[in-house]
Amino acid sequence: MPGTVREQVASQLDAAADRVLAERAADGDLRAFEVLVRRYGPLMRVYATRVLGSNDETDDVVQESFITAWQQMGTLDDGSAVKSWLMRIVSRKSIDRLRARRAHANIDDTDAPARESDAPHVVAEVESQTEALARVLAALPEDQRRCWTLRELAEYSYGDIATELHLPLSTVRGLLARARKTLLREMEDWR
């Protein structure tokens, strides 16, 4: 096939709507899938890193998510919803990873202590609001951070968070409220 046709298709794929890409990927078109990987991979990476609290396992989690997505692409009824579908997969994989990590550590305490580098005395005096948020987020208890990330970055509803985390709705509300209050309080010093 002449190179010009390949190039033409590549640019068409790059500009194609999510629905068309998802449908072609479901048909086994790896090039269409690659466009989806490039389009939503960065957001999925950001998101997984925030849920996990570090980027140590981001590569693995995002890779697993896309492999699952590729295999299950045919089950996605509405291709235009591929973004939220991908976010859901990476949420699940990230949460699974957290559970495994906890089982491995064999502790029930979800309130992991802040790392030494996060301790207030190490924090540089001049810190932007964004950096402050990143630091306060990382120091939040894991269950609160998970709820906040699902709500604020993945835009889950309260009900969806409850389902995803196997928690009562009231617990999710409580965790979110605590996370917000802590963030509000901590962010007061950075404005």
Binding site: M1, D27, G28, V37, V62, G74, A177, L184
Partner: protein, 215 residues
């Protein structure tokens, strides 16, 4: 001159566990309620919130938090977008095409002991390539309808196509159908009785798509 406006006033740090104190400091509301109110764009307007200086301070805090969240997300995304391509290659390298191979379609072979097949996925690939080699259109989903496993059984093909605005849709559809028939007869022994092409305009809404089906 030194009077503090709500915007400058510090948010009252309250006990995280004490809802009563929280409500007392927020004119009877909770941070959760204020957060939901903000999510809804502060409509319908609630005077009990809007007219409360305490709530205003908390709302400003929540808005600041929201802006910081957006900046953080944008910054993270920018950093991720600047990464080298290694992670994409790594993902693609770990993907197996077998997942979409589909059914096996028999091909005749001179030897009675040999069994030759082409996969459904490969046929879909041929149909896609055929569409991609044509101008002014873009092929989406391709489906083989019928019992492709039985040699000689009549089957039909369903293809979704996006056509660029201003193109002659019936003409393009006819050209695509002809090209697909030619490709199928070249690479397969399928007995194709129909190629149904569903055309949608590139800029039209999905429900406004033109259905152009003819056998």
């Amino acid at each position: 001159m030194t009077e503090l406006t709500p915007a400058d006033e510090r948010f009252v740090a309250f006990d995280l566990d004490d809802t009563v104190r929280e409500q007392a400091g927020l004119n009877g509301h909770t941070i959760e309620q204020l957060s939901d109110y903000l999510d809804q764009g502060r409509v319908p307007a609630d005077p009990r919130i809007d007219d409360s200086p305490e709530c205003e301070i908390a709302l400003r805090g929540l808005e600041r938090l929201r802006r910081a969240r957006q900046t953080l997300l944008d910054r993270d995304l920018e950093r991720e977008s600047l990464r080298d391509d290694g992670w994409v290659a790594s993902i693609l390298a770990n993907i197996t095409l077998e997942a979409h191979a589909g059914r096996e379609i028999p091909l005749t072979h001179p030897s009675s002991t040999a069994r030759l097949v082409v996969t459904e996925g490969a046929v879909r690939g041929i149909l896609r390539e055929t569409g991609d080699s044509m101008q002014n259109m873009f092929v989406g989903r391709c489906a083989l309808v019928g019992d492709v496993g039985v040699p000689g059984a009549p089957i039909s093909i369903r293809v979704d196509v996006t056509v660029f605005p201003g193109e002659n849709i019936p003409l393009l559809a006819a050209q695509l159908r002809q090209a697909m028939y030619a490709a199928l007869s070249k690479y397969t022994e399928l007995v194709v009785v129909a190629i149904d092409i569903t055309v949608s305009d590139l800029h039209a809404l999905p429900d406004a798509s033109v259905r152009e089906i003819e056998h």
